[in-house]
Every structure is written in structure tokens, then in C-alpha cells.
Symmetry: C2
Subunit: 320 residues, 2 copies
Amino acid sequence: MADKVHDVIMIGAGPTSLAAAVYTSREDIETLIFEKGIIGGLAAITDQIDNYPGFEEGIEGLQLAEKLQKQAERFGATIELGEVQSVKKDGDVFSLSTTSGELQAKTLLIGTGSEWKKLKIPGEDDFYGRGVHNCATCDGAFYRDKKLVVVGGGNSSAQEALFLTKFASHIDILIRGDKWKASDVLVDEAEKNDKITVHFNTTTDEIVGGDENKVTAVKGTKDGQETTFEVDGVFVFIGLKPVTYFLEGSGVELDEYGFVKTNHKLMTNVPGIFCAGDVRSGATMQIAAAVGEGAAAALSIREYLENYQREMIPNGNGQD
Amino acid sequence: MADKVHDVIMIGAGPTSLAAAVYTSREDIETLIFEKGIIGGLAAITDQIDNYPGFEEGIEGLQLAEKLQKQAERFGATIELGEVQSVKKDGDVFSLSTTSGELQAKTLLIGTGSEWKKLKIPGEDDFYGRGVHNCATCDGAFYRDKKLVVVGGGNSSAQEALFLTKFASHIDILIRGDKWKASDVLVDEAEKNDKITVHFNTTTDEIVGGDENKVTAVKGTKDGQETTFEVDGVFVFIGLKPVTYFLEGSGVELDEYGFVKTNHKLMTNVPGIFCAGDVRSGATMQIAAAVGEGAAAALSIREYLENYQREMIPNGNGQD
């Protein structure tokens, strides 16, 4: 049993929770943030962020993440590293099974965001982290003067491929469909970059390694013809998947794509469990929006806790 | 007639529109922002902002406003000073009557925010701006070693009164109800400040001036008894009112309090007219949320314009 009941535990330390924690901890709502990976979330592994409002010349993702973390900690929020495995309602509180043991809280904020989808093809897992990557900022520099494949036709694919041209000598972008699903400005920039070749109607079928356990090629099918791209690495950006596995059995309702459903107060169907950011149904996948929703969720959490203190609602009803 | 149809006209140059404009103009959506007052909106007239995520030590409101403006302008947004008087649908475009003449746009973003409510008592209008104020940052310094009344029991009242203690020798806070409607941390700080006296159950009835056309007293009723507070100035923070007068006749639907109703894409009931920030029904009145909604609205505007270019929708239907 946990020996302490936290006011709020925020799951995931991305911009959503860090923004929410600025609000809650500043209002003396005791706040614990739990993170299994990187503080700052996807923002922290983004090279340059030009569209987070307030930084007129843009800001490095890692620097923004650090600023958000410091600001949350300044008001007293605690960040702990570890993984939440499951969540269940336990009388008046929520119990969380985590790699740091059992934790309890009066309210929860789900701010776990989304993670990159896998291709699910031979070789992908074998070479993951040493030839197959999802983060150009983290791993791009290993490919100085090397050749790369980038998989995907969305904004991330275009943006990360452009960033990778800093290092790579050439990049083949493999797009399954017959057109981009990215913004015009990124597409223009990618297509006129002479280090980049774009291949439409091209599936990515297998990642092939050589003797030294390194990637040597990507096998694909272009317009029905098998094709081999001789490259040293592969960066995969084929979409994001909401991180919700720990909610199994919690009763929290998800939408058809697996994102967490909320009401206009950012509360889930389980009173006391709130959700904001990239894991939320309807999310725009923008840092500004995640931060804005984090702030709004914090206000809802405060309101919920005010009622909670007042009546210790036994069955979680009457919250609105 | 206007000789140019803008992609989007944003009404109001607060954090909402400036954030949205970073997104739209960066994507080559031609963006005009129209502002009748101060660029940066209420943020610009706030002394210190501690809870806008990304500034770990806080930031001055005016400085944040300037950063937002520079960032929007960096990507090509244009800001024009003037007042929008009315909005109407005119075939495929929206026509705006403004103090700079007739303007036309394919889409509109309503980002006018909210403004301070008035007490509607004798003397308020007579002394407005020279004894009666809504902005401590702007006008507080005029009251060095003077006595003040602050009216209101919410967060703004507590926060601004605390700020005014930098200058004033004493502050009476007049609250109509029998308790604060502000956050505990602000209430604690205000109540333990020895320059501040809080009066509950107290109405503010009249603002009285002397011979030199200066405020000399505030007449009120405390617990049923007439009371006079001899002060040099009054700061009124009794709530915000959404700025929507220019929407009369536009067909845009408002909620029962006069805020603009939107769907989950931040579009109003009139296809092509979007709304975000403090003027929107359900707004949290936080800069972070306004900025987040501005970013989300920009994505919806982009999506709408993509369909618009494709089919020049004659009656504005089929937008979802």
C-alpha cells in the first residue's frame, strides 16, 4: 500500500503535464509527474521548434523542454522516472501500479502523448536503435556522409528528412501513397533539396543487414517492381500511436483510434481522471495546443479537488 | 468594394490571433490581423506573467506580447490598427466594415477576447482614466503613497491589489459577496498583506470627486450600513465581458453569456468563421489556453481553405 495520497499524479512528463504542473503546483496542489522515457516528450527530441508561441526566433526542442521542466519544478512539482503499469479506482483514490511500487492519488492527468508507429517488417526490430530510428535529432549525426531512407509522407517525414540532409549525403523518401500528406511549405522545401529523392507508390518491405550487424539496404516495391535502396540507415515516420496501454482495465473510454475521450472540461468518463495533449481524442499534435490543454486541465483538476476536499465523494459522482 | 480578398482576417491582435498567425503565415496563408486597441491584448497590460509555459522565471506581459507579435510578423503576418464594425457573408467571401474601409476575406478568426465589466454607478464614467482604472500595470504608479479602493473578489482583484501595494499606502478591497472567488494562494497573500483590508458584503455605490476633478472618495454599503472610503483612486476588476458587438447581424451564434459558440474544430455555426481564446464559449481565460486554441484554430482554417480552393463552395456547406 502507498503511504501517501498525492493530490494529482500526472502520467507522462511532456509539455502537457509540465504546463499543467506549473498551474497546479503554483496553486499548492501537490503534484507528482511520472515519466518512463524522456522529460519533455516528443518536444525534447525535436531539433528546432519555430511555432511555439513566445519564441520569435524559434527554440531548440531540448531547450524548451528544459524551460518547461524548470518552471514546473520552480513551483514545487516533483518529477519521478518510472513506468505506470496499471490504474484502478480504489475507494476514494486511484491506485497506480508502477515500477516504483504502488502509488495513490486523488486525481490523475493522462499526458502520455503518442509514440511512433512501427512498419512491422523483417529487420525492423533487429536493427532498432542501430540502423532503424525514429528521432533525427537524436541519431542523425551518426549518418554523416552516409545514405539514408526516410519512410513516410507526412509533415514529420518531410521535416526530419530536411533535417537529416545536414548529415546524410543522400536521402530516399519512400511514400506508400501517390502524394504527400504534408504542408506545402515542407513539401516544396523537401522536393527542391538536391540531396532528397521522393518515391511515391513505394512500400517498405524489409530492412537488410550485412556481416557487421549493420543496415546495408532497404528492400521496397515501387509501382509493383521490387527495388533495393542501398543505404546505411532508415528513419521511420509513419504516424503516431497514443500511449494508453496502462489504462487497460481502468474503465477509461477510448475512441476508435485508441485516443482517450474527454468532455469539454478535459475529464474522461471516469470522474477524477483527466486527459490532455497528444493522447487525447481530437488532439492537434501541436506543442502549443498540448500546453494550452495542460493549463485548461489543471483548472479542471483544481475545481474537482475543491469539491473533493469538501465532500470526499464516495463514488465519484456529482462532479459537474 | 475591397480590391483584395484576404485568405484570413483575424479580428483582435491578442495572444490567440498572434499564435494563430504564426501557424497560418508560416504555411503561406495570407494573414491580416485587425486590432482596435493594444497589440497583445490583456496579456500586454499584465505586469508579470508566471504561468505562461516556457518562461521558467516568468515574463513581463508587454515583453511576451512583443515576442508573439515579432514571431507572427517574422512569417509574414500583417497587423493593422482599426476597428471592425460589422461582418457579413457576401457570396463566397466575408465582407467587413471597418474604420479602414471595406475588407474581404475567405475566412475569419474571432480573437477579440474579453474586456472589463463596468460597475455602472455614478462617477464611474466621469472619472474613467483619471481616478477609475482597470489596469494596475498601466496606472498603478500614479498612486504612490496614496490610498486606493479595489473592487472585486476574483483572481484579478486579488492579484492586481497585491501589485498595487508596490505603490499605494493602503488598499480597501470591496467584495459584494461574503467570500472570495479567487485561488487560495492569492487570497492568502492578499489577506496577510498589511497594506490591504478586505471588506465582504460591501457594494460599491458611487465614486465621488472633489474640486480639482479628482477622486476623493468611494461610497459603499457594508453589511447594510453606508460607508465612505476616502481614497485617491479606484481599480475595478469585477469580471470580463466578451467583445462581440461587431457580430450583430452576422448570424454567428453566442451562448447565454454572450460568448461565441464553436464546434470541436473551433468553427462557429457560420462555416468559415472560426473563434478562439477569451471570447469563446468555454474559455479558461488563460494565455496558454488562448495560444493553444489559436494554434488549433489555424489548423482548422488551413483545412477549410484547402477545401475552399478546391471547390469555391458557393453556400458555405460541406465543410467538415
